[in-house]
Structure formats: structure tokens, C-alpha cells
Symmetry: C2
Subunit: 196 residues, 2 copies
């Protein structure tokens, strides 16, 4: 798995650089020449590590970024005293990152997911697998807090949708109002489910 | 305004075709040659109607699609017996369109908004203006139903975020589960605000 790669290796640098470029420019807008230049890697190393070229690299970046982001979010949940605070902290943390990165770093796979949904099956499948892993990870947290299975899954989908949707509005408006509003609605939805 | 263009004119065909292509391929993935070919327009007509090229065309498509989408959604609200049903019907209608278009036609500007947020100021501003017009349109509906100003705006942002986020999940998974779950959460949030 790419997630176990030694940091600093050429392959790890290519993957990290590509993930960064995908967030800012999307899949179509990211060129292989820019990747090797930013990763300080020889051009040949790209096809050495990813014989399938940009698509193979893209699939690996989506899986790797998706796994790292899940770990990050689950860490925020684990550090919070309760699940409602955990949800609130995820939106507040995301708002902070957006402000700190000049509204560039939001979801690592959202732009790519929309670009490839109708055009590239292997990439679409990779984004679908990542989103499903996030939904399952959040569902597990909500179930552990005592919410029934079907409500927990609906809630997970809604919280992730609120976050992804707020990212679009926040990046477009260069303001975090959408993350504040969506975070409030997400926390209220979890509270309502806990009361049931 | 482009929205008042006579349908069937070359300019209207170019705008409609570009809007369609943006939904499926995004801004970067849509080429000018493909636009004129699909619009059945001579190449020169593109620069005749849009001297600023792809960027000027993009800005006009975003404004035009945004205005048409707002009208469509407000029409769904107006046809519903109450605001909660209106919100539900928006998500149900979006799910139906996604299924009917093989998961291609979701939000007309979401993909472009994410692609351009860090790279193209005129296009980013156009997407921000459209999202703000949607937020204001929905806020007006919620205020008319008796919800206070600040709650109405938060609710509008949240409902739009739920819809935009569900579009990402639905297109990636090629399933409408996310729209069903997000629609339920959106309707519940509006119900809770009405009870306050």
C-alpha cells in the first residue's frame, strides 16, 4: 500500500505532489511535467513507478489521499469529548485549513471525483471507494455512540455531504461562512439522532 | 442578459452546448473545438460572440446556468404545498434527473467552481455570485415561511451544501442513496427551524 511508503522516496514525493496539485488544479488541469518538476523527480521515474501513467498515478493518489484524510478525521473524532463536539471540530478544523491555505486545501478528492464521474471509470471507482470508506468510518463512530444502523449511515452520508458541499461554497466565496453554517446543521442532526 | 437570448441562435446554441459539456467534462476538460462541433457553429462565431474566448464564454455560461437552475428550483418550491415538501421535492427531482442522465447532470456549476477556485479569478467570482444568488433565493423562501433572518440564511447554506455534497457522492457512486439521505436531513433541518 502506498500509505506505507517511506516518506522522501521518489515515489512518495510524486504521490504527495500530485495530491497537492489535484486539490488546486484538478485531474485534467494537472500535467505530468508539472508533477515531476514539483516533486523534483526525473521524468522517467514517473513511468517507472506508474507504468499506467497518469491514470494509474491518479488512482493511487485518490486511495492514498482518501486513507490519510479518513485517518485525520477519525483522529479529530477520537480527540473530542463526545461525537457532537467531534463533528463540530471537523468543520472548524476544515475552516482553519482553508483560511491558512488561501482557500486551496479542502477535500483531497472532490474536484477529481466530479471531473472523472462521467469520463474515467477506474478513477470514478477509486473516488467511490474512498467516499464509501469515509461513510463506513463515520457510521461506525455514530453506531458506537448508540445510534441505530440505518440512521447512523444516513447521518454519515449527510455529514459528509454537508462538508463536501460547504467546501464548494467556501472555496468559491473565499469565506468560511458555509463551513460554520454546515457544521452547525451537521452537529444539530447528530444531536437529534442521539435524542431519538 | 444571456438568459433572454432567442433560443436556436448560434450564440444560444454555443452557450447551451458549453453548459452541457461543463457538467460532464468540467472547464479544463471542455475544448473549444468540441463546443463548436457539438453546437454546430462555425469556429469563428465563437470569437465573434465571445471576444474574450473560453474565459468570457465560461463566465457567461456560469451566470446563465446559475439563473436557469435558480428558476427551476424556485419553481419546485412554488409548486409544493409547503416549504418542507419543497425541499424534499428538490432532492427527489435531482435524483430523478441523475438517474435519467446516467449520473451526468447534477449541478451546472459545481465542477467548474472547484476547478477554478484557485486558478481563475473571473470564473471564481462568477461561481461565487451564482451561489450567493441561490443562497439569497432560498433565504427569501425560508423567511417567507416565518423563519428568522439569520436562521434562514444558515438553513439555505446548509440545504445547498447538502445538495452539492450529495451530487458529488451520487455521481461518484452512481447511486441516489446520498440524495435520499441528504434530502431527509435537509427537510428535518427546515422542520426544526419552523418549530423554533
Amino acid at each position: 500500500m502506498a500509505a506505507n511508503l517511506k516518506p522522501g522516496t521518489t515515489k512518495a514525493r510524486i504521490l504527495d505532489t500530485t495530491a497537492e496539485l489535484f486539490m488546486r488544479y484538478g485531474y485534467t488541469g494537472t500535467g505530468l511535467k508539472q508533477i515531476v518538476a514539483d516533486a523534483n523527480a526525473p521524468f522517467g521515474s514517473l513511468y517507472h513507478h506508474f507504468p499506467g501513467g497518469k491514470q494509474e498515478l491518479g488512482v493511487e493518489v485518490i486511495h492514498r489521499s482518501g486513507a490519510m484524510y479518513l485517518e485525520l478525521v477519525l483522529g479529530v473524532f477520537d480527540a473530542a469529548p463526545d461525537i457532537v463536539t467531534g463533528v463540530h471540530d471537523c468543520f472548524a478544523g476544515a475552516a482553519e485549513v482553508l483560511r491558512a491555505t488561501d482557500y486551496a486545501d479542502a477535500c483531497p478528492i472532490e474536484t477529481v471525483a466530479l471531473e472523472v464521474a462521467s469520463t474515467n471509470e477506474p478513477l470514478r471507482e477509486a473516488t467511490a471507494e474512498v467516499f464509501e470508506s469515509w461513510i463506513e468510518g463515520a457510521t461506525e463512530k455514530f453506531r458506537a455512540a448508540g445510534i441505530d444502523d440505518s440512521t447512523a449511515r444516513e447521518l454519515s452520508i449527510s455529514v459528509i455531504a454537508l462538508l463536501e458541499g460547504a467546501f464548494v461554497l467556501a472555496r468559491a466565496s473565499r469565506a468560511t461562512e458555509a463551513l460554520d453554517a454546515a457544521g452547525k446543521t451537521a452537529a444539530a442532526a447528530v444531536e437529534a439522532a442521539l435524542r431519538r
